[in-house]
């Protein structure tokens, strides 16, 4: 589709120059690093690549990563929907404060997110000491800490995607369903969910991507070794065994690409539904 702009458009050479700058910048800065990850991973042949992937440490890291997203994502999705319902369908005092609090993890550097949990569960803290002396549990440096830090960092994604759409859609349809005798669960599954499903999917995709790849926060609360996630494994191996680091990176990079593809598909779908051309 071409926009008819008559002679209120830039001269053709300016247009071409700007397009060239944009594409060059993007290619150098975004595409090239991505390509290099795959190039470097396969540089020493398929066998090396495969060995690096099936290494015991890698398999364990995959396990820890899957466990982490397996706990963090469902919990955050559930509570994200709950929070979005509460914030999107009702008005109450302190609502904007609550929204800000839910957004808080986004405003915090990952390292500082990790720091929060180190302080909370560290051996110098009251809670950490008490847990250790009473139950003999150490949370810091355990997989629990990894999961908690991941949950913290990915908490806002679902609510943040759902809230705008739920607010613009208002409560008319839900109220109509209520008047027709539907209960809360029925209203949610039959009226609300169909309206928000794409935004929800989008939120889940983003939440999952971040949970899978979180590095800063997890690095601070984890001790490495057998609790390594894939991200941490990359960090641990990149100085000693660069090819292994790249091999592991390809897994996460693939996940990133899938995320982008899904995101684009979802956007195209919503755009089509709204009758816009893409």
């Amino acid at each position: 589709m071409s926009i008819v702009r008559g002679n209120t458009d830039e001269p053709a050479w300016v247009r071409r120059l700007l397009i060239l700058i944009a594409i060059t910048f993007m290619a150098l800065f975004l595409l090239l690093p991505l390509v290099l990850v795959f190039y470097c991973a396969f540089e020493e042949g398929l066998t090396t690549y495969w060995e690096a992937l099936t290494d015991r440490r890698t398999l364990r890291a995959i396990g820890v990563t899957l466990l982490t997203i397996g706990i963090a994502v469902p919990l955050n999705v559930f509570f994200g929907i709950v929070a979005a319902w509460c914030l999107g369908k009702f008005n109450f005092r302190g609502k904007s404060l609550l929204i800000s609090l839910i957004d808080l993890p986004f405003a915090v550097s990952p390292v500082i997110a990790g720091l929060l949990f180190v302080i909370l569960f560290g051996m110098h803290s009251v809670l950490g000491e008490w847990l250790w002396s009473t139950f003999g549990i150490r949370i810091l440096h355990s997989t629990t800490a990894t999961v908690l830090a991941t949950m913290f960092v990915t908490f806002p994604f679902v609510t943040r995607e759902l809230l705008p759409i739920m607010q613009t859609q208002g409560t008319e349809e839900e109220l109509a369903a209520r008047v027709l005798g539907a209960n809360g669960i029925q209203i949610f599954f039959r009226v609300t969910l169909p309206n928000i499903k794409w935004a929800l999917l989008y939120g889940v995709v983003l939440c999952n991507a971040r949970a899978m790849g979180e590095f800063g926060a997890v690095n601070v609360v984890s001790h490495g070794g057998k609790n390594n996630t894939l991200s941490l494994l990359i960090y641990e191996t990149y100085q000693s065994d660069l090819v292994a680091a790249f091999a592991v990176s390809t897994l996460l990079a693939l996940m990133a690409i899938v995320t982008l593809v899904l995101k684009t598909l979802i956007e195209m779908r919503t755009a089509r539904k709204e009758g816009r051309s893409v």
Binding site: V4, G6, N7, T8
Partner: protein
Amino acid sequence: MSIEVQNITKSFGNFLALNDVSLYIKSGELVALLGPSGSGKTTLLRIIAGLEEADEGSGPILFNNRNMKDSKIGDRGVGFVFQHYALFRHMTVFENVAFGLRVRPRTTRPDNGEIRRRVLELLRLVQLDTQADRYPHQLSGGQRQRVALARALAVEPQVLLLDEPFGALDAKVRVELRQWLRRLHDEIHLTSVFVTHDQDEALELADRVAVMNAGKIEQFATPNEVFHKPATEFVMNFLGSVNKFRGQVADGKVRLGEQFIMDVPENTEEAKLFVRPHELQISHTKVPNSFNLRAVITRIHSAGARVRVDLETHSGDAMTAEMTHSRLSELNLENGQDVYIVPSNIHVFGADEHAIEE
């Protein structure tokens, strides 16, 4: 400055917005382009302005016989006013009006004092000199449109083009503003073209009206002529409601019932007869030497300046008549009454939808 466009065609994809349109506007004239949405009126205006380019093969666009087809909008000397004002919202009223002077090349740019003098003069002209330091969002719709007009006039255009200038305003403000615009035009005599879909606006304001439909100009004439002598069926329909009658054509004569209406060329096969509601008389008795049709009154709408009476003929056709309140009480009409309807003026159109002149 006169404006002439010749054989303009413009299509957007498969949609033919303008189909071989020609138009000549005299210097100092105020012309309305009137038509439903999609009739091509705005496209024609934008082509005159230079905001849109006509298709290959279209004729010239002449301003005082100078071809402007390849000139950019900034070089045509046109002032353009948009329906939604298009004011620069980060500038004050003063800066909005001054914009066209400030962007001139240094050699022709007036100095600040001169700009100030001219802007304030224009703001006085549009009666907004007290609002110079306000921002657009602090003004009412009517005020905003007057700022847009002052801004367009600041560059001393040869031609003023207005795209639905009153479309976004409340009904009351709209009437006030169009009377004001007419007075302004009488004062400065700038060749002006405005687009509207509101027939009252076009008929009241313009010197001549171009009625457009489906990319063509159906009729270009004075408001009086357009209303009383519509050239085509479309114009007839667009400028008010009509009652349709089936006429009979035989031997070069059109008849309605027994009554002879007019002579037509021998080869005419079909004639459509239209009667405006105010040209349809109601009578309790048969009127001699006229076409009379029996009808039943179905409803009387008397809340308004004039009374509208809905009727149904015995063959089931719906008819509408319009009259004054005094006429209504004279006739003493009631719902369900059986009456005669008598057309006092009949417009006749041929199969090609063009009016057949007597």
